[in-house]
């Protein structure tokens, strides 16, 4: 980035001297403490406060540019998360069709480290999502993740599916006991579930049973749903059993 002097700012006519002065001053204090006798500007200012401080000005420009860039990046990143969550589900759809046709684990895009394992529907909430293998942070960006080690969705046992409360699993907060859920598996078969229990627990105390007699779906997401901090300890747990 050019200094204010280089861009023809207030130092325009005297820039070599100005830069020398900058070099001579200790880094870090140059902008705050300016000795009057070493001023590159010949005239003496009326008061230090009102006097335009060229270094302060330079800092201001830097701050504006930095804040604008950081702000844009942050905003963009935030929006990108939402966009990724939506677009990925569209890409996953074609991978799912192929999965059902071939029976293999089809990667939705060449560099993916996961694949769709089931399709989860909540008719009462208009939710229709493709569930991915593995519940890592990377996976969850694209869709709800099936926890490795838990039963396959629709199988006997407890299938644990986690999702982001502010993207795919936003609907989970609106489920009420009795709501139907459905799982479509890679072999095309469907299994129907009904929500039985809903509770909130601290994840440190959450011992989700690994196995249950009745095929069970356990949907887990963060709680509270509208918190701004993504790192809270509470989890919202919806337990649905096969009907």
């Amino acid at each position: 980035m050019a200094t204010a002097a280089e861009r023809g700012g207030p130092f325009g006519r005297n820039d070599r001297e100005a830069r020398n002065w900058m070099r001579a001053s200790a880094p870090g204090i140059a902008f705050r403490c300016r000795p009057a006798e070493s001023s590159p500007l010949g005239s003496s200012p009326p008061t230090p406060r009102a006097r335009p401080n060229p270094h302060k000005r330079w800092l201001l420009v830097a701050c504006i540019v930095l804040a604008a860039c950081a702000g844009a990046a942050s905003l963009g990143n935030g929006l990108y998360i939402y966009a990724k969550a939506r677009v990925a589900q569209v890409l996953l759809h074609s991978a799912w069709i192929e999965t059902q046709a071939t029976g293999g684990a089809i990667k939705p895009w060449p560099w993916a480290d996961t694949h769709p394992v089931a399709r989860l529907k909540a008719p009462s909430q208009d939710a229709d999502l493709l569930v991915l293998a593995g519940a890592s942070g990377r996976t969850l960006a694209f869709g709800p993740g099936h926890l490795d080690g838990s039963a396959a969705p629709g199988d006997a046992g407890n299938a644990v599916i986690t999702g982001h409360r502010d993207t795919h699993f936003r609907f989970v907060g609106r489920l009420v006991p009795g709501d139907p859920l459905a799982v479509e598996r890679a072999d095309g078969s469907q299994r129907h579930f009904a929500v039985r229990r809903i509770y909130v627990a601290d994840f440190r105390e959450l011992n989700i049973p690994r196995d249950t007699r009745v095929p069970t779906l356990t949907l887990v997401t963060c709680y509270p749903f509208d918190a701004i901090n993504p790192g809270g300890p509470l989890r919202y747990v919806v337990v649905a059993e096969a009907t």
Binding site: R57, C63, S136, V160, H164, L206, D211, V220
Partner: protein, 704 residues
């Protein structure tokens, strides 16, 4: 910004209020910007701190829900293990320090693992300087004594056996900010195999799978699983565990004093870094390098005698009261018949793909199985059965080995993932189905962590359905259920192998192949002189590198003459005559004999002997020898009450760690994105930038 503009701006005449406004705007914007940057930095740093804290053994306060549902601080548990190894025997002291960091009274319940052959015979409770000796009592009576003492406000400690390798310590009336030390001691015979001694100390319990429908009754446990019809004490064998991301709990120190008795070629700790100091006379002191470790994976020490220094046979005796006890170890010579044609065989591999195997375990199991498949030879028949909640055999029946079946099997194994329950019975039923007898050599190789609660039910099936097959178990993972694995191999007349790390797969599997492929010593008969009461009665078949270990009891003064050992190997008879004499007393032999007898009695029970008979026989031995068993517990009670009559006491179940590297247990990911936060920060930053730009625009520049 175009320069012309700026020149315009620079011409704006000075105005005092504008200067003030600019300053206010500028400082507000800068303040906002700086605070945002700082907030962001704090946010990131606190995130990293959380992540970094996950690996340390937690010493802080642990918050748990009590019976009433309130969050309370639980007692902390610190363990110090001191092992003294001498010759073939280890004497181990386990000191469990229960620390109550709160200002209330507490009762602590801690379920912990011990070696499956541990003969727990001593308990002391330390309250400050005072030491209270524990007494052995019938289990229900000990429990009553404990409950009464607890109600009276007296400090008391109860040690119960849930499984031969799982015990519960309950400590009542731990005062505010008080520490009670429970010191347990046990005696154990070392495992000698393939020329090396192995001393194992389990440090974690892989959460057990509990099959069956919920039962009406409960057995007073503090575990996470309700009792089921298949596992009536499920609530006692499923201790709570902490999420690894919360940081690890239960720090442990380990000190080993090893008096090997012969020069060593090798001495190494398998999974923990140790500091080794050598003393004269083949003595060593080992301590953990780098201080306490969290109780999250089994400890194992391995040492190998120098060539020629290895014992071929050894006899230890101890006289106690009017009885003399003997411990005999003999190593049959290994046959050099490696040139003998390897008979074609039928091998069925069973691999556990349940959720508890997720993580390091399934990787180890897959590697081991792929190695085993490569070892098959033309003429062999084989099958692979995968099981979790359901069992899936690769072929409907064992298939002859050919390139096509082998490649199908490898593909099948390579694609295995771990998830779901551990329904072991159906898988074993498939593997043990069919004729009891077969002209082929039939072997079943079972890879699992053994994390089930219905061990006895499975052992019974193995006993009933084995026929002429042999079952070999391979224990997988950081903390497998060694009791189940060794017992299943014993009932299956095979042998067991532990693989605790993926780096061990090659070495351990090679050792197993030697056992699978060289003929075993069978039909072993031990003929003791006089009125010996020897245990085990039925000596298991011995595979390559395994020694014969038996104990016997004699009426004092009658132990003399020779013991005759005989066995068969591929039809040929093997015989050995060893003179027995009462030598230098070796403390602990009596306890080991008693433990071997209890073990054999319990086995008889598992094979269908009526429980009341077994119980009486076990009670007799256990009470005489001061041993904890399924039917006897150790109890220590303080004399005077210390808890005021009115004070409440809260019961806490102390959690353990999920064994290191297992990821199938509630490792829930973060389930919220930072999107909203990023958008808010983005907006604020843009706002700040706009404010600063505005400030700059109206800045009066009078210096030019």
């Amino acid at each position: 910004m175009p320069q012309a503009d700026r020149v315009e701006v620079n011409r704006i005449p000075h105005n005092e209020w504008r200067t003030l406004g600019r300053l206010a705007l500028e400082s507000a914007a800068t303040g906002l910007f700086v605070s945002l940057v700082l907030a962001l930095a704090v946010f990131i740093v606190s995130f990293e701190a959380k992540a970094a804290g996950a690996g340390d053994p937690g010493q802080g306060t642990l918050l748990l829900r009590d019976d009433a549902g309130a969050r309370t601080a639980a007692p902390l548990l610190l363990t110090d293990v001191h092992m003294e190894v001498s010759g073939l025997v280890a004497r181990v002291q386990v000191r469990q320090r229960f620390v109550n960091p709160t200002s209330q009274w507490r009762e602590g319940v801690y379920v912990f693992p011990l070696p499956e052959k541990a003969a727990v015979d001593h308990l002391t409770m330390h309250i400050g300087e005072r030491v209270i000796e524990g007494q052995i009592k019938e289990r229900a009576e000990a429990r009553r004594t404990y409950e009464n003492a607890k109600a009276e406000g007296r400090k008391t400690t109860l040690v119960e056996q849930e499984r031969p390798n799982m015990f519960t310590t309950s400590v009542a009336n731990i005062g505010p900010n008080e520490e009670i030390v429970v010191a347990l001691e046990y005696e154990e015979m070392l495992r000698y195999d393939e020329g090396s001694f192995r001393l194992r100390f389990p440090l974690a319990i892989t959460p057990r799978y509990v099959p069956g429908l919920p039962a009406e009754s409960a057995s007073g446990g503090t575990g996470w699983s309700p009792a089921t019809q298949q596992v009536l004490d499920a609530d006692r064998v499923t201790p709570p565990y902490v999420n690894a991301r919360e940081g690890l709990v239960n720090p442990v120190t380990i000190v080993v004093d090893l008096n090997a008795g012969f020069p060593l070629a090798k001495l190494a700790s398998s999974y923990h870094a140790m500091n080794i100091v050598e003393h004269p006379g083949d003595r060593y002191r080992l301590t953990l390098d780098g201080g306490p470790v969290p109780a999250a994976r089994d400890f194992e020490l391995v040492w190998t005698p120098d060539i020629g220094a290895a014992p071929g046979a050894a006899l230890f005796t101890e006289t106690k009261g009017d009885k003399t006890y003997a411990l005999l170890m003999a190593l049959p010579p290994t046959t050099p018949d490696t040139t003998a044609a390897r008979a074609p065989r039928e091998i069925t591999y069973i691999i556990d793909t349940s959720g508890s195997m997720e993580g390091v375990s399934i990787t180890q199991a897959r590697e081991a199985l792929l190695m085993a498949l490569d070892r098959l030879q033309p003429g062999d028949r084989f099958n692979v059965i995968e099981f979790n909640s359901t069992s899936t055999p690769l072929f409907s029946a064992p298939m002859p080995l050919d390139p096509a079946t082998l490649s199908r099997a490898k593909q099948f194994v390579g694609a295995l993932r771990a998830r779901g329950g551990t329904e072991m019975l159906p898988a074993l039923k498939i593997a043990l189905a069919g004729d009891r007898e077969s002209p082929l050599v039939r072997q079943v190789v079972f890879l699992t962590d053994g994390a089930v609660g219905n061990e006895d039910e499975i052992l019974r099936l193995v006993h009933d359905k084995l026929g002429d097959r042999r079952l070999f178990t391979i224990g997988i993972g950081p903390s497998p259920n060694t009791f189940f694995l060794t017992k299943a191999a014993q009932f299956g007349r095979g042998t067991f192998t532990f693989i605790g790390d993926v780096r061990e797969v090659k070495e351990k599997m090679s050792a197993l192949f030697r056992k699978l492929e060289s003929p075993a010593l069978t039909d072993i008969v031990i003929d003791w002189p006089g009125g010996a009461d020897a245990w085990p009665r039925l000596v298991p078949d011995l595979y390559a590198g395994e020694p014969l270990v038996v104990t016997a009891q004699f009426p004092a003064g009658t132990m003399q003459g020779n013991v005759a050992i005989s066995g068969k190997r591929t039809g040929a008879q093997w015989q050995k005559l060893l003179p027995i004499t009462v030598g230098a007393p070796e403390p602990g032999v009596a306890v080991l004999w008693a433990r071997a007898k209890i073990d054999a009695l319990m086995d008889a029970g598992r094979q269908g002997a009526p429980e009341p008979d077994i119980r009486n026989a076990v009670l007799d031995v256990a009470l005489t020898h001061h041993l904890v068993s399924k039917y006897t517990s150790l109890i220590a009670v303080d004399v005077t009450p210390t808890k005021p009559a009115g004070a409440d006491s809260v019961k806490s179940a102390l959690p353990g760690n999920v064994p290191e590297g297992l990821t199938g247990f509630d490792q829930l990911p973060r389930t919220a994105t930072p999107a909203a936060l990023l958008i808010v920060i983005g907006f604020l930053l843009l706002l700040a930038a706009a404010a600063m730009a505005l400030a700059r625009r109206y800045a009066p520049l009078r210096g030019i």
